[in-house]
């Protein structure tokens, strides 16, 4: 980045910033940030692996807290008790020039070692436990592969073969069976990334040329936030993903839906609905807009379930057909797979066969709704700095979309449940 390019940016944005800062202050901060109940909390956890890690953390926390209190009080006392209270005090005859006391030293060293042993024991236990699926549960474990690309995740289900195209593949949303251990093979496909779903398990890096893995288990069905946790270039911050844990029945239903080819929308006449208008056609779409809606935030898991169901009432079959044609003519299919609809695509780009059934797009950055979809395909560069759809696709293939194209593509993509 160039210094000269920074200065105007600063000047331009300074005012917005001040306004924003003031606003946030005024709206009143609720100072409960220390409860740490966020979507990516490592404290309010939902799985045995994260729990084991949390327990170790709490041990370290208590041990050091106790030491801190003891050492701190002695230090505070010494500072208070022995401070010179007056000028005269400072000039007084120097105190006894003592040089130390080996017994005290040894005692304290012993105490420190003891404290460390208290930490070390659970640490060692947890290292073994969190490393891999416990032997007794091995048979029950579900296997998936997670592959990281700049800046999105690909998930493979080796246990779900699909005739003709290998195995079930999805992007950015990992669906797992709840209550079962899941063994995830981690692969970095370009640079180093890291797989982190704080509520379920600590992170493990996805390093090129290295066969890493982790295991986790979700205690109950739920919707979990994940994030790439190793700096991997421009859009590292927005390389996110989700994990959805489902009960056995739901999981099987989901698998059935996913393993089938992309959904065909019955050819019916236009419902005559007015075409959606998207503010997102313009590139000056406000970038500091949240990627999610309040409704979604209210109950993400329900939102995910809702996404699984087709919504024929609001679908415009003609528009969808137009979108499908555009997907081909605008060369989207050269990168993206839509299994059953057209032949094309490559494994190195997100599989869109069931993109409509996901709650998020663009690496977990945006909620998957019409407006955000439009925003993404109109200006991927603005939404996600440097992303490879933009640099490899839009520029190289020179894809230009009119607002109408976008509406059609959005309709098509949303129909891919």
């Amino acid at each position: 980045m160039r210094l000269t390019s920074l200065l105007p940016t600063l000047a331009r944005r300074g005012r917005i910033l001040l306004a924003l800062g003031g606003l946030a202050l005024l709206t009143g901060c609720n100072l409960d940030f220390w409860t740490m109940k966020g979507h990516q909390s490592t404290i309010a956890v939902d799985g045995p692996v994260a729990k084991s890690q949390l327990d170790v953390f709490l041990v370290t926390c208590w041990v050091t807290l106790v030491i801190f209190l003891i050492v701190g009080s002695v230090l505070a006392y010494a500072t208070y008790k022995f401070r010179a209270r007056s000028e005269a005090d400072e000039q007084a005859v120097p105190p006894e020039q003592g040089h130390g006391n080996p017994l005290i030293e040894l005692g304290l060293i012993g105490a420190s070692v003891l404290a460390l042993v208290i930490i070390a024991v659970p640490t060692l236990k947890s290292i073994t436990y969190t490393h891999d699926v416990p032997v007794e549960e091995k048979a029950n474990a579900y296997e998936v592969n997670a592959l990281a690309y700049q800046w999105w995740f690909k998930f493979e289900y080796p246990a779900e073969p699909i005739a003709g195209s290998g195995q079930l593949v999805s992007a950015n949303e990992l669906v797992i069976p709840a209550g079962r251990p899941v063994h995830i093979n981690l692969r970095g496909m370009d640079v180093i990334h890291s797989f982190w779903v704080p509520k379920l398990a600590g992170k493990v890096d996805m390093i090129p040329n290295r066969g890493n893995f982790l295991w986790l288990k979700a205690d109950a069905p739920g919707y979990y936030w994940g994030q790439c946790a190793e700096y991997c270039g421009d859009s590292h911050a927005v390389m996110r993903f989700r994990v959805i844990a489902l009960g056995p029945k739901d999981f099987n239903n989901w698998l059935n839906a996913q393993t089938s080819p992309a959904r065909e929308v019955a050819k019916v006449a236009s419902t005559g609905q007015p075409k959606a208008q998207f503010a997102a056609y313009r590139s000056d779409w406000k970038r500091n807009e949240a990627g999610w809606s309040a409704q979604f935030e209210l109950n993400p898991f329900e939102s995910w379930k809702a996404h699984q169901e087709p919504d024929p009432k609001h679908e415009d079959a003609a528009l969808i057909a137009q979108g499908r044609a555009l997907f081909q003519s605008k060369t989207c299919f050269t990168c993206h797979v839509v299994r059953g609809h057209m032949v094309g695509g490559s494994g190195a780009y997100p599989d869109l066969t069931h993109v409509g059934a996901r709650t998020t797009i663009a690496g977990g950055l945006l909620e998957n709704n019409a407006a955000q979809l439009a925003r993404w395909i109109s200006h991927p560069d603005v939404v996600k700095p440097g992303n490879k759809m933009y640099v490899n696709g839009y520029l190289a293939n020179n894809i230009k979309l009119t607002p109408d194209d976008v509406s059609a593509l959005v309709a098509y993509l949303s129909s891919l449940k």
Partner: protein
């Protein structure tokens, strides 16, 4: 090779000055630009190191402020993603390599020779070379701000393969590689010099176990530098070859393993963090006894624990890699090894408290910083211990919890101690002292601002906020913590601004300080004038005890006689020998700078010019010899001594 010391031990006599042809032109300016560029005086070099370091501290601080301003609210757009990534990369690199390390080097240079009763370091011209090579490295590292390619943006530990040509095609990463390479050369050269100085140039009677603790920590830090920097040198050579010549060290398609970079980097990187903290611990170990008016509690144990921290520092590097899937055995081993470091570190804390116990604590500004150091470093150390438990770290690694940890040890630790050290030695360095009121005020503002900034980051990290993210969404529960942290950073910035204002004011107009302002204990305060004369000691002191100066003050008559005798002996032998200034270290460093540019831009001719300049500089520097002139001050540094009057 430095020729200065040649005659030092052989007693060899040079022949009457022959030549001088133009190559051996000896600069003699005592004032003005040339005197600074060609100086070989450890105090001037220390001052320059310190000035550069403080400048870069402000630069790094401004970068930090931009980081914090970007994060003040979710989805902020003050900086773009590439700008932000550049910002934290340069912030980390600048703070570590261009602020804290050289600030440490400034004290090593200025204080250490005085503490051991020496008149300079063992190789004064090598010292100048270190300084100018450091400057060259700093230039290369920062030059990207002014060029189209931009400044480095691969993070301060530049994990391969993000640094490869494929993912980072511009020269930005080359600036980072070559910049660090030059800084490494500078650091190793300086460290070798300090090692020889401390081992070999101690005043009579200054046994190793009488060395001031700061000098001890200088020695240990220097060892850490010479033993850890080679690892990053090799690692940097490997990425450089990958980028420039298409080798395969980290090239996955030909079987390269990017994980190797992480190992090599952290073999350097972990000792590096102790390179940053040990000088700080040394400074604190000087300040506390002075203001408690008591010797350091358990001196031998403090020294020994410093050495064990240094040694253990080489056995724990993989604790930065707990999440790289090393397998249970390696993870457990590094986890335990890391925990053991808490023991020697704890010993230091206990001994500092022991030093306070029963003392007469004079609560002056340096003392405030030292006490602040103990508190803050303790907190930082405890979060370090939390990291060392590998399973816990799996959640903390690369989250703001780590950011909190290392700022507590780096700012609460290193920076607090260094800022305290500046206050402490200011009267010695400049003959003026900082106003207590303003000094304490700046301390409190910094202290509060620091905690407001970084304490919430623990919560942010545990709440899952990843580091190195230019933006975050508003629904994650991170808004308030970030807002507080940013406000804290502004307070902290204000505190630092006050601190600098006070320092600059004092330098220009501050209250004059007498000799031995604080009633201190170590030899640096025994110099005849503040600031010290260029020859440091009119008479090389003879050391009778640890805390040598304290002993002198309490055995005055005895010492006086000894000094007189010593002075006579020295005078009889021709007075104090001072080495000439020299231009060649600067020439060599400029050669290195030019050569680095040639390497970055693949320009063979420029590289060759740079290389030859480097070679010629070194060659002429070894040919010209140290030479020098003589001074004849009296015992107190008066009379015929050209002592700088203030």
């Amino acid at each position: 090779m430095e020729a200065t010391a040649k005659s030092h031990f052989t007693g060899k006599e040079e022949h009457a000055p022959a030549k001088p042809s133009f190559a051996f032109w000896r600069p003699t300016a005592k004032t003005g630009l040339m005197s600074w560029l060609t100086t070989v005086d450890h105090k001037k070099i220390g001052f320059l190191y310190g000035s550069f370091a403080l400048f870069f501290f402000l630069v790094g601080g401004c970068e930090a402020l931009l980081i914090r301003l970007q994060l003040i609210v979710p989805n902020n757009t003050l900086l773009t993603a590439p700008q932000y990534n550049t910002m934290f990369t340069m912030h980390g690199t600048t703070m570590i390599f261009l602020a804290v390390m050289p600030l440490g080097a400034a004290f090593f240079n200025f204080i250490m020779p005085l503490q051991i009763g020496a008149r300079d370091v063992a190789f004064p011209r090598l010292n100048a070379f270190s300084l100018w090579t450091f400057v060259a490295g700093a230039i290369i590292l920062n030059v990207g701000w002014f060029l189209p390619d931009g400044a480095p943006d691969a993070g301060w530990f530049g994990y391969a393969p993000l640094t490869s040509k494929l993912y980072n095609p511009t020269h930005a990463t080359d600036f980072w590689i070559l910049g660090l390479q030059l800084l490494g050369v500078a650091s190793i050269a300086a460290a070798l010099n300090f090692i020889v100085t401390i081992i070999n140039l101690r005043a009579p009677g200054m046994t190793m176990m009488r060395l001031p603790v700061f000098t001890w920590m200088t020695l240990i830090t220097s060892f850490l530098i010479i033993l850890s920097f080679p690892a990053i040198t090799i690692a940097l050579v490997e990425v450089m070859f990958d980028r420039q010549f298409g080798t395969n060290f980290f090239e996955v398609s030909n079987g390269g393993m990017p994980i190797l970079w992480q190992h090599l980097f952290w073999i350097f990187g972990h000792p590096e963090v102790y390179i940053l903290i040990l000088p700080a611990m040394g400074i604190v170990s000087e300040i506390l006894p002075t203001f408690a008016r008591k010797p350091l509690f358990g001196y031998p144990i403090v020294v020994f624990s410093g050495a064990s921290i240094g040694f253990l520092g080489f056995t724990v590097w993989s604790h930065h890699m707990f999440t790289t899937g090393m397998g249970t055995v390696a993870t457990a081993a590094f986890s335990l090894a890391t925990m053991t470091i808490a023991v020697p570190t704890g010993v230091k804390i206990f001994n500092w408290i022991g030093t306070l116990w029963g003392g007469h604590l004079k609560m002056r500004t340096p003392m405030m910083f030292a006490l602040g150091f103990i508190w803050m470093f303790m907190i930082g150390g405890f979060s370090g211990v939390m990291h060392s438990a590998a399973p816990a770290d799996a959640q903390q690694q690369d989250s703001y919890f780590v950011v909190a940890h290392f700022h507590y040890v780096l700012i609460g630790g290193s920076i607090f101690a260094l800022l305290g050290g500046i206050h402490y030695w200011f009267p010695l360095m400049f003959g003026r002292r900082v106003s207590e009121f303003w000094g304490k005020l700046s301390f409190w503002v910094i202290f509060i601002g620091f905690n407001v900034t970084f304490f919430p980051m623990h919560f942010l990290g545990l709440n899952g906020m990843p580091r190195r993210t230019f933006t975050y969404d508003g629904n994650m529960g991170w808004n308030v913590g970030n807002m507080i942290a940013t406000i804290g950073a502004l307070i902290l910035g204000t505190g630092i601004a006050i601190y600098f204002a006070v320092i600059i004011y004092t330098y220009l107009k501050g209250e004059k300080a007498g000799r031995d302002t604080w009633d201190a204990r170590t030899l640096e305060w025994s110099v005849p004038t503040n600031p010290p004369p260029e020859y440091n000691f009119a008479v090389i002191p003879t050391v009778h005890a640890r805390d040598a100066f304290w002993y002198e003050k309490h055995h005055q008559s005895e010492i006086e006689q000894e000094k007189a005798a010593q002075h006579q002996a020295e005078a009889a032998h021709g007075g104090i020998h001072m080495p000439f200034q020299s231009i060649y270290p600067l020439v060599a460093s400029i050669g290195a700078l030019i050569g680095a540019f040639g390497a970055i831009y693949h320009n063979l001719i420029v590289a060759l010019i740079g290389g030859s300049l480097l070679f010629i500089g070194i060659y002429l520097w070894s040919l010209e010899g140290a030479e020098g002139y003589h001074l004849h001050p009296d015992e107190d540094g008066h009379d015929d001594a050209p002592a700088p009057k203030h």
